[in-house]
């Protein structure tokens, strides 16, 4: 049984902070199919369209019938752990710092034998389930997990390396006063966060629910933060930048309006200020500090969460300026991901459909409750995914975009 994680001690500022190292990065281009699956939190391997053979490691042609028709598909993730070893030596810096490290061979029910990281609660010879996760380098790896969940299993150091569990971590919610921000804060506390910093851009405004929330838990701390103000962002980073291990950017500027129904770009500029330049200011202020602490003990800095929208992928013309800002933020997130990857800090993009909050008042259901969105974000962090689609509308649009993106474009414009 996994020993529960011990609450990390206060950082000793005199000791040198361990810098981040990464597990091996190189993969063949085909093997990045596993990375795509892991990023989306699904378990897929190549399956031969002609003979049905499941392929592993990823191949260019079928290892059985030589067909070139190999498609990534969900496959049975169960298997038997037929051999294990515990590494007490490694050629790689990342692993050297984390020894001992358990790996094993799993004979999959689907056919292949795979080498996987092996959870400490898995018994040799027993049944396991495999899961694809992103390791600290952002590349996919297989983890063998016990057949059924075991107590504290997410606390196992090996699994914690491939996930971004909020337990014992400190979280900055950039707009803590919005419905989503408050819900995220609550969900983080429930998930065992050590502290949640609630950004407040409108200290002049009284929001009873916010005041009630702040009074409910000593782990909550209100901080002044206006993402449109570089000084404000820098001030906060100077104050708490060294403590933020998960940053959830809930700041948003959602207003109706397209292009031709206005004679100015003010609304668009305001949306860009918050959703694009705000993200950039936050990244410039908090990113370097998070990178510096990306391997700093069991509460290392792990994740940057952008709450985007499914409309980052497909514009909603009725909210054209806002959609454009979300699309720009999505693009920016790819750059941020590339820049944070060197330290192993994960960027998780969240793509919700409409959320049931004040600026979506006139949007017909179905809408996601802020608490549902927040729970999905926590689970996404615990699972360690990179792209998170939340709600039926988001899932439906995502599927339809794959099927016919022109149909989506026409229909959203009606």
């Amino acid at each position: 049984m996994t020993e529960p994680l011990v609450k990390p001690k206060k950082k000793n500022p005199v000791l040198r902070t361990r810098l981040a190292t990464l597990p091996p990065v190189p993969r063949s281009r085909t093997a990045l199919g596993l990375t795509r699956a892991a990023a989306e939190g699904v378990f897929e391997m190549q399956v031969c369209a002609d003979c049905g053979t499941v392929q592993y490691p990823p191949r260019e042609v079928c290892g059985s019938c030589l067909s070139e028709h190999l498609a990534w598909k969900p496959v049975d993730n169960r298997g038997e752990l037929i051999a294990t070893t515990t590494l007490r030596h490694s050629n790689d810096l990342y692993f050297r710092e984390r020894l001992p490290w358990r790996v094993g061979t799993v004979k999959m029910a689907a056919g292949p034998s795979v080498v996987a990281h092996v959870h400490e609660d898995c018994a040799e010879g027993g049944s396991v389930r495999l899961t694809l996760k992103l390791d600290r380098s952002g590349q996919a790896v297989l983890h063998a997990l016990p057949e059924k969940d075991t107590p504290n299993m997410n606390d196992a150091p090996q699994l914690r390396e491939s996930t971004c569990d909020p337990k014992f971590r400190r979280v900055l919610v950039t707009d803590g006063k919005s419905a989503t921000g408050m819900a995220v804060a609550k969900a983080m506390l429930e998930a065992g966060a050590n502290a949640v910093f609630l950004g407040d851009a409108s200290t002049w405004k009284t929001v009873p629910a916010f005041d009630k929330l702040v009074a409910s838990d000593p782990r909550l701390q209100v901080v002044e933060l206006d993402v449109t103000d570089t000084d404000s962002v820098d001030r906060l980073a100077a104050s708490i930048g060294g403590k933020v291990e998960i940053l959830v950017n809930t700041a948003d500027y959602l207003r109706d309006g397209g292009i031709l129904n206005r004679k100015d770009v003010n609304l668009a500029r305001d949306a860009m200020e918050v959703n694009v330049l705000g993200l950039m200011r936050l990244a410039q202020a908090f990113g370097p500090g998070m990178c510096f602490r990306a391997a700093d003990g069991s509460n290392n800095a792990v994740a940057w969460v952008n709450i985007l929208s499914i409309h980052a992928h497909a514009a909603l013309p009725a909210r054209g300026a806002w959609s454009a800002s979300k699309a720009a933020a999505l693009s920016l997130s790819h750059t941020l991901r590339a820049e944070l990857r060197g330290a192993g800090v994960r960027v998780m993009n969240v793509f919700p459909g409409p959320v049931d909050e004040e600026w979506e008042q006139l949007t017909p259901p179905p809408k996601i409750a802020p608490s549902g969105l927040a729970k999905a974000i926590v689970k996404g962090l615990q699972d360690g995914v990179e792209d998170l689609y939340v709600g039926d509308i988001a899932e439906e649009l995502r599927t339809r975009l794959r099927e016919n993106h022109k149909a989506v474009e026409r229909e959203l414009g009606q």
Partner: protein
């Protein structure tokens, strides 16, 4: 030596294979190993070639065929090496088969000599070992290793062999004491071999008490990477006699790649597919074999070779090890140079070590490691952990041709 029949399926080759009549294998050379070298692979291979030419007493231009194996020659291949060494061979091969290279080079070269495509072929294998060579070789070993093994702890071959050793010990009854007995015997042999890097005796207790590296692999289960080179010449018996060179004959050979892909983990090698064909073609039985030189990057592979080459049945290796002595003067002379475990693993030269030692045994040039009256020797090779298992296997049955006394 005792023989046992194995129930493993054999894959008889289609048609009748020709023998290796008239082929001589000669001039075993070793360029003394060092733990780390500041030289490049070209230096080691070049020295091996020079030693072969000097040993045969021929001119450089008389070597008209070259076969090369090396992991650290890059970005060059055998082609670039020829210009580097100023050679103009009419036959050239590059064999990237690691531990199977020594046997496979013989197979290629012997047929070329028989066919008249080349008269004198130098088979050379060598690698340098810079302080960082091993890590670089392991991290970029193969696509499957890069995609599906190295990211899992970067343990290199230790980790892959740990997994199959774990499985093998649980299913086939070999214990650490059994592996230890082999390692101790090899060390004993190595103390008689001036080329061996390991110079201190090893006791079974030291073996058992060694620090764990990757369970169940402990320190003395691992080879020490080093720099070095090995080589031999293949020519006609006629030519060898004319040059007054002691030589060995080839009774038979086998090779196999990616054997038993359906096995969930490796517990046998390609020898199990081909051993019946090997002995039948050679006209000898395991009981006729005077000594065995296996590829021994880890003791578990020795155990598999005992079984898969027919010296004992699958699953009976523990009893076989307990019933025999593996030193040079023991009941089953085995890895008489000390093997890679005690000599060192000089990259691809590790795939030549057993072969070159077998040539010494059969030509009477093994010095203090000489097995008395050695007439028939088996050399086996095993190479290339591509993903989860070693893919290449090979073996050769060699026979005494002319010894040093007879040739002169």
């Amino acid at each position: 030596m005792s023989a046992a029949t194995s129930p493993a399926a054999s894959a008889a080759p289609a048609g009748k294979r020709r023998g290796y009549d008239g082929v001589a294998v000669t001039v075993p050379v070793t360029i003394p190993y060092v733990r780390y070298s500041t030289r490049s692979a070209h230096w080691w291979l070049g020295r091996a070639l020079a030693e072969l030419i000097r040993g045969a007493g021929i001119a450089k231009g008389e070597v008209d065929g070259v076969c090369v194996s090396s992991f650290t020659l890059g970005p060059d291949t055998a082609v670039g090496l020829m210009q580097h060494l100023g050679m103009s061979p009419r036959w050239l091969d590059h064999i990237p088969m690691g531990g199977a290279s020594g046997v496979v080079a013989l197979r290629r070269a012997a047929r070329a000599v028989q066919a008249g495509d080349a008269d004198v072929i130098a088979c050379i294998a060598g690698d340098t070992n810079h302080v960082d060579s091993f890590r670089n070789t392991v991290s970029q070993f193969s696509r499957f290793a890069q995609d599906a093994v190295y990211p899992y702890g970067a343990g290199g071959p230790n980790a892959s062999f740990a997994l199959l050793t774990d499985y093998y010990m649980k299913h086939y009854g070999a214990s650490r004491e059994d592996f230890g007995k082999l390692c101790v015997a090899q060390r004993d042999n190595a103390l008689k071999n001036p080329h061996a890097l390991m110079k201190k005796p090893l006791t079974l207790q030291q073996y058992l008490d060694a620090r764990p590296i990757t369970d169940p692999i402990h320190l003395f289960d691992c080879v020490m990477p080093c720099a070095g080179a090995e080589g031999y010449l293949v020519m006609s018996e006629e030519r060898a006699r004319a040059l007054k060179l002691p030589y060995a004959r080839v009774r038979s050979t086998i090779e196999r790649h990616n054997a038993f892909p359906e096995d969930p983990i490796q517990f046998r090698g390609g020898w199990a597919m081909d051993k019946d064909a090997l002995y039948e073609h050679a006209g000898v039985a395991p009981a006729d074999v005077d000594f065995l030189e296996t590829y021994d990057d880890y003791p578990v592979i020795n155990a598999m070779q005992f079984e898969d080459l027919g010296f004992c049945a699958k699953g009976e290796v523990a009893g076989f090890i307990r019933a025999n002595e593996f030193t040079i003067d023991g009941s089953f002379p085995f890895n008489t140079s000390g093997g890679q475990l005690s000599v060192g693993q000089a990259g691809a030269a590790g795939g030549y070590l057993g072969f070159v030692q077998a040539l010494r045994q059969l030509t009477g040039g093994a010095g203090r490691t000489q097995v008395k009256d050695a007439k028939i020797g088996v050399v086996s090779g095993f190479g290339m952990i591509n993903y989860d298992r070693g893919l290449c296997s090979g073996a050769a049955i060699l026979e005494r041709g002319a010894t040093q006394g007879e040739a002169a």
